[in-house]
């Protein structure tokens, strides 16, 4: 009854009390109470069992690790001269706070063996809602054409989603011989239908002394499932400056057929 009376008086003084739809704030503000620990259940149950359950609670409510393995390209490249097979993919494992990333790519030419083969092991941290910073090492296999051994690099890069839904990544590399190179990639998924997707993609590789290669691809894939999508496409590669190997053409075009798959 006393409560009711107080309520009446309050209503008279403040017609918005109770259901103020504007600011949604009451007239007077009390201070919030201090945050309390020990947890209430620790008084009633074995604190050790509670601590274990709490650790599990953390994992199950935002602390979970996830993983994936993917082949973005696994393709046959038909072109003038020797045909080739190419692979590009990555795997990652970790939580929202940080992940381990393994990237690998390679190209094998009929009759010549592996032309390129490289792997990166990176640690990734989120920077902002869309991008990860990645740092780690890269190792290139020695191409059989070259007599020298493999090469290792320190790698620092980023990967993420740019405005207008462009998937982009870039990295700078410092090799064990002291030279610096860089790579950048961008791709876009144009969704023709729910399952038919046209993907333009460009990649630029830059080394010291002006050597560069540029690769542009256009792939049309059909997502039989989201995880398994065969594709056809065309890839155009071109080398510039010292990257042009003596006696070879600077550019080549390949018709590709392949599959994009992940788990």
């Amino acid at each position: 009854m006393i409560l009711d009376l107080q309520h009446e008086q309050h209503q008279a003084a403040d017609p918005h009390a109770g259901h103020d739809m504007g600011s949604m704030k009451p007239a007077a503000e009390a201070a919030p109470p201090p945050v309390v620990t020990p947890r209430a259940a620790d008084r009633l149950f074995d604190p050790k069992a509670m601590a274990a359950a709490r650790a599990q609670l953390m994992v199950e409510h935002g602390g979970a690790s996830v993983w994936t393995v993917r082949a973005d390209q696994l393709e046959y490249r038909a072109r003038k001269g020797a045909d080739a097979q190419a692979f590009e993919g990555e795997a990652w494992w970790g939580t929202d706070a940080g992940k381990w990333v393994v990237k690998a790519r390679g190209e094998r030419i009929d009759g010549e063996g592996w032309e390129k083969g490289e792997a990166e092991l990176l640690k990734a941290w989120p920077i902002g809602p869309y991008f990860d910073l990645q740092a780690g090492v890269r190792y290139d296999l020695a191409p059989p054409k070259l007599s020298k051994g493999g090469r290792s690099y320190a790698a620092l890069g980023f990967e993420g989603l740019a405005p207008y839904w462009f998937e982009v990544q870039g990295a700078a590399y410092l090799s064990d011989r002291g030279d610096v190179s860089a790579r950048a990639e961008a791709s876009y998924d144009l969704r023709l239908t729910q399952k038919l997707i046209l993907q333009p993609r460009v990649e630029a590789d830059l080394a010291e002394a002006g050597a560069a290669t540029l690769e542009g691809g256009l792939r049309l894939r059909y997502e039989i499932t989201r995880e398994f999508a065969p594709y056809v496409g065309v890839v155009r590669e071109r080398a510039f400056g010292p990257a042009v190997v003596a006696g070879e053409r600077a550019g080549s075009t390949a018709v590709v057929i392949g599959v994009r798959a992940w788990r």
């Binding site: 409560l3 309520h7 309050h10 403040d14 009390a17 109770g18 259901h19 103020d20 739809m21 949604m24 009451p26 007239a27 503000e29 009390a30 919030p32 109470p33 201090p34 945050v35 309390v36 947890r39 209430a40 259940a41 008084r43 009633l44 149950f45 074995d46 069992a49 509670m50 274990a52 359950a53 709490r54 650790a55 599990q56 609670l57 953390m58 994992v59 199950e60 409510h61 935002g62 602390g63 979970a64 996830v66 993983w67 994936t68 929202d96 706070a97 989120p126 902002g128 809602p129 869309y130 989603l161 405005p163 207008y164 144009l190 969704r191 023709l192 239908t193 729910q194 989201r226 992940w262």
Partner: protein
């Protein structure tokens, strides 16, 4: 190699009653009478186990209670005491049961790591509590993702006195979503590819056909990296939507006699699905929400989020069947049942309607139509000035610049359906409020997320890493304002309490779960009358799993100095 146990359970699954094979009596088609068969009394025994369930002729792993999916109906009486012994017969997994919407001592609330340590394999935990309320409730696991694989069931509590809701017959209608993919696989796929299950994205073919957004809008949304078709995370592409454990083809049927007032106790026990519920040809009189009676409101359709319950009276007078339709909010599928005077009858199933598209308003842009010029306000998508207390972590994709109270609007996708749709603003408590004090303080909680990383949290920080609880003084009256900074609706549930929705009604309705519209805000008044630690979380299971969870502390405890 198949063990004897596996073979037996498989056979039982394949040869059982109905298409699901594990149906408890209350969920079977044509269940008659005023009270569906139930477990009741002061001593109840439940056993959580693993079984194969057959749904639509396919079998999958399920976690069941007393061998049924959904679990057995528990029917209690207000004022009684109950002891519920729960035995964990799972081989290698803890379990738990949370009594959803029930006012219980906190240590009986069933959340491992908050209320108690959980139930280890082979162990039995006895829940022991007085029943202090009446109405339609439910119960479910709070361990792992067991709720997605079958551990949920209804609970009805009959009032001590006369029921304020008069009816001749009742049916319990438990809506849920079932996937043959393991819930951890669902979660992982969303983490890797957030649009994974959305098979209704905008396409170039659609653009040429003049569907969906204009090119200009598509470019503007693309610039923001926002997908207007992101209505539901997990969809009909992998879900079968169930009525009382029956797939749409299995057609669960509830009987009625012409002219009866039939009470339908709708419970949304889905892990991830918001349903739009209607029964073409019948008006739905909403008489209770989240177990608590409201002044009756007659509508043609209502939206219910996971964890909500709606009691509805229908009064069919014709000798014909009516289809009960519960359409997923993204319109990727539906749950279907039938109300009929006799078994074996059915009515036409209306086609699934076109999926809605999110708007600028769903992004918290208020009433603007595309434009971004609002004098004196920072209308950018992620401005600290619009939420000074929320750290701009990678989990915060957007901060709503102008969140609106949207409780008087029809829920997402039901704006233009051409018939009467329930809004939260229409709900009024049937009874006077028991606490008429104005709130002494206000707290704001932002519902934040990043669709591109499938990160979900309160105030930008997932529970997982480490998070401070939300503290209440015992018996204080607090106003809680939930601001949805994301483009998705979130059903937010507080354990152990009812709160009053500040929806403009003189008698504010009591709820335990409130679905906060995208870009919207909701206020509720709460009397923190229940001492202890309580879970507070989004009831979309995978949002909770991603971190949209916290603990509420109410102090002092009994016997503790203030």
């Amino acid at each position: 190699m198949m063990t004897a146990f596996d073979r037996r359970t498989l056979l039982r699954g394949a040869l059982g009653l109905g298409a699901v094979g594990l149906l408890p009596a209350w969920a079977r088609a044509g269940e008659v009478g005023r009270s569906p068969a139930a477990l009741s009394g002061e001593e109840i025994k439940l056993t959580v186990g693993h079984q194969m369930a057959t749904i639509d002729g396919r079998s999958g792993h399920a976690v069941t209670v007393n061998g049924s999916l959904p679990g057995p109906l528990i029917r209690l009486k207000e004022g009684q005491n109950v002891r519920i012994a729960v035995t964990n017969a799972l081989a290698d997994e803890d379990t738990s049961i949370h009594w959803h919407g029930l006012l219980v001592p906190f240590q009986m609330d069933g959340v491992p790591g908050v209320a108690f340590p959980g139930i280890k394999p082979g162990e039995t935990f006895t829940y022991d509590f007085p029943v202090r309320q009446a109405g339609t409730y439910w119960w479910h696991s709070h361990s792992g993702l067991q709720e997605q694989v079958g551990l949920y069931a209804p609970m009805i509590i009959d009032p001590a006195g006369e029921d304020p809701i008069g009816y001749d017959r009742e049916h319990v209608v438990v809506l849920s979503d079932w996937s043959f993919l393991h819930p951890h696989a669902l979660f992982r796929k969303l983490k890797v590819n957030p649009g994974h299950f959305n098979m209704q994205k905008q396409t170039f073919a659609g653009l040429l056909a003049g569907q969906d957004q204009s090119l200009k809008d598509r470019v503007a949304w693309g610039k923001m990296r926002m997908d207007p078709t992101d209505i539901a995370d997990v969809t009909g592409s992998v879900y079968t939507y169930l009525v009382n454990g029956h797939g749409p083809g299995d057609n669960w049927t509830g009987l009625f006699a012409s002219g009866e007032r039939v009470r339908l106790r709708f419970i949304n026990a889905a892990a991830m699905t918001i349903f739009n519920v209607r029964i073409p040809g019948l008006s739905l009189e909403v008489v209770a929400v989240d177990g608590q009676p409201v002044s009756p409101v007659s509508v043609d359709e209502f939206q219910m989020a996971p964890a909500e319950t709606f009691d509805v009276i229908v009064r069919p007078t014709e000798d014909q069947a009516f289809t009960l339709v519960a359409e997923a909010s993204d319109r990727s599928g539906l749950a279907r049942g039938t109300l009929a005077p006799r078994l074996g009858m059915s009515a036409p199933i209306p086609p699934v309607r076109k999926r809605p598209l999110a708007t600028m308003k769903d992004m918290g842009m208020g009433n603007m139509h595309g434009g971004m010029d609002m004098p004196g306000m920072d209308m950018s998508m992620r401005s600290q000035s619009n939420a000074p207390d929320v750290p701009l972590t990678p989990g915060v994709q957007t901060i709503a610049p102008m969140p609106m109270d949207r409780m008087a609007e029809p829920p997402q996708g039901l704006e233009d359906v051409g018939h009467k749709v329930l809004t939260y603003a229409q709900l009024a408590n049937l009874h006077e409020s028991t606490d008429k004090r104005p709130p002494g303080r206000t707290i704001e909680i932002h519902l934040t997320g990043n669709m591109e990383r499938f990160m979900w949290a309160f105030d930008g920080e997932a529970f997982g890493p480490i998070k401070k609880p939300i503290a209440f003084r015992r018996d204080e009256r607090v106003r809680v304002v939930l601001i949805n900074d994301t483009m998705m609706a979130h059903p937010i549930h507080l354990h152990g309490h009812f709160f009053e929705l500040v929806n403009g009604q003189e008698r504010q309705p009591l709820k335990h779960t409130v679905n906060v519209a995208p870009g919207g805000k909701v206020a509720f008044d709460l009397t923190a009358s229940e001492p202890g630690d309580w879970a507070f979380h989004c009831h979309l299971l995978l949002h909770m799993h991603a971190g949209m969870f916290n603990v509420v502390t109410v102090r002092p405890l009994d016997g503790e100095a203030a």
